[in-house]
């Protein structure tokens, strides 16, 4: 967990006490990840229990100083030089929401895409504004903060690109006559509950379409009743 490792990395430079560690961490990351001091103390307790840091002295103001141990030093170095693992499965709410939406009759996935893209672009604008309004990027504190803001900017950009990509894919699906959501005329009463545990099968074919895929199981269709 990165607060734990960040504290270790800071203590690797010089022994320090809890409140000052919180301040250093926030200063070096531009306040982009606020931590409360209780969390820092709890982390220091755990680090001490695990033998990664040890208490050294208490100054006249009552600050308890911590110093890194050799084991702690090795752990800090390992953290800094090891790649951060990325999840290969997603718990991303947006991806899940869109994946579900394309299978639900009466839900327009493109409306979801438009709303999300507007919101994400507004976030991007606000991040860009705060970056432009920031201080001198040649000071190391500001530089660290800008790196963090850049990371948020690139993540938001990636989301917009994925939304564009998804929009194009859904449009192509429609052109092929394989509507991802049911045309309104083909739906039953709006209150019809979907059948439990089965893919929806009312959505596959636009009637009369001169479409060779119509009526057959098309491999690209996310809504092919019984195919999965």
């Amino acid at each position: 967990m990165s607060v734990r490792h960040s504290i270790l990395a800071l203590l690797d430079q010089v022994p320090n006490y809890g409140y000052q560690l919180k301040a250093e961490f926030e200063r070096r990351t531009g306040g982009s990840w606020p931590v409360n001091v209780g969390q820092v103390y709890a982390t220091l307790d755990r680090l001490e229990r695990d033998g990664l840091v040890e208490q050294t002295e208490t100054d006249s103001d009552g600050h308890v100083f911590y110093a890194i141990t050799e084991t702690g030093r090795a752990e800090a170095r390992a953290w800094l030089t090891t790649a951060v693992p990325r999840a290969t499965t997603t718990r991303d709410e947006l991806a899940i929401k869109l994946a579900l939406a394309v299978t639900l009759p009466g839900i327009d996935a493109e409306t979801i895409i438009h709303a999300q893209r507007s919101a994400t672009l507004a976030t991007l604008q606000s991040l860009t504004r705060s970056k432009v309004a920031g201080g001198d990027p040649d000071t190391i504190d500001e530089f660290g903060w800008q790196l963090v803001v850049d990371a948020l900017i690139f993540q938001a950009e990636a989301e917009v690109r994925w939304l564009d990509h998804s929009e194009a894919r859904i449009a192509r699906l429609r052109e092929r006559g394989l509507a991802a959501t049911a045309p309104s005329g083909a739906q039953g009463a709006p209150t019809d509950p979907p059948r439990r545990g089965r893919p929806l099968s009312t959505t596959t074919v636009v009637s009369g379409a001169a479409n060779p895929a119509a009526g057959s199981e098309h491999p690209d269709s996310p809504v092919t009743g019984g195919a999965r």
Binding site: E110, T111, H114, A115, Q116, R117, S118, A119, T120, L121, A122, T123, L124, Q125, S126, L127, T128, R129, V132, I153, F154, A156, E157, V160, R161, D164, A168
Partner: protein, 246 residues
């Protein structure tokens, strides 16, 4: 000229119901349909959309390079449909500045000669044009490269020269077509920073881009799809706006 300055002086560009069709009858292809758009001083508007959505058509119409099939284009208070070809040329020289993806500098001219070219075409005295061009190059941090030829400048420096050329002599409406498309990410950001500061100093602009990260430098982001505006995001209105769908 009867319709001149009907609107406030802060408005630099207005498109009123602009449509553009190519061909006729059953073969007619619609590139733009009923687009309304305004750009004020101090405002940068980004245009986004997939290939073929009408972004470039919109920019060429906004720049008076192409006459729309229907609708009005108003630049700095002047209806282009009322303007003679000489007036149109004068508007393009005095109000508009273009910035392209591939810089479009004249290779045989130095940076400052490129910047002063539109002024000289507009009848400025050479000395006065040079002073104004030095000012413009200073604004993009390039005065020390004034006498370099484009080949001796980096891509980012060439694009900053193009921005200086776009704003030299008080020209106020910058039309930029993928200005960062040929630049690496960091250099592109420096160029956008320069563009943004010109806008903040009172120019206005349209930024055509497919890159959300670059569009985020704008005050408003407009989405084109099949020639229509389908979404519009405002900086001061972070809530999602769902425009009329095509």
């Amino acid at each position: 000229m009867s319709r001149r300055e009907r609107h406030g002086a802060t408005e630099l560009l207005r498109l009123e119901g602009v449509s553009m069709h190519y061909g006729s009858g059953a073969n007619s292809v619609s590139a733009l349909s009923g687009v309304d758009l305004t750009v004020k001083r101090g405002e940068l508007v980004a245009i986004m959309g997939a290939s073929g959505s009408g972004k470039s058509t919109l920019l060429t119409i906004a720049g008076g390079l192409v006459t729309p099939t229907s609708g009005e284009v108003v630049i700095d208070g002047q209806y282009l449909s009322d303007a003679s070809s000489a007036q149109l040329a004068a508007i393009r020289r005095r109000v508009l500045g273009f910035v392209f993806q591939d810089f479009n500098l004249v290779p045989a001219l130095t940076a400052i000669e490129n910047v002063q070219l539109p002024l000289e075409l507009d009848g400025w005295k050479r000395h006065k044009a040079r002073l104004a061009s030095l000012d413009a190059l200073r604004l993009v941090d390039l005065e020390d490269r004034a006498d370099h030829f484009p080949d001796d400048l980096s891509g980012g420096q060439q694009q900053r020269t193009a921005i200086a050329r776009a704003v030299v002599g008080g020209r106020a409406l910058i039309l930029a077509d993928e200005p960062t498309g040929a630049l690496d990410s960091h250099t592109g950001e420096l160029v956008l920073r320069m563009l943004r500061s010109r806008i903040d100093d009172g120019a206005g602009g349209i930024l055509v881009t497919h890159d959300a990260r670059h569009a985020a430098w704008a005050d408003r982001i407009v989405f084109l799809k099949d020639g229509r505006i389908v979404d519009e995001t405002r900086r001061d209105d972070p809530s999602a706006l769902l425009g009329a769908r095509a």
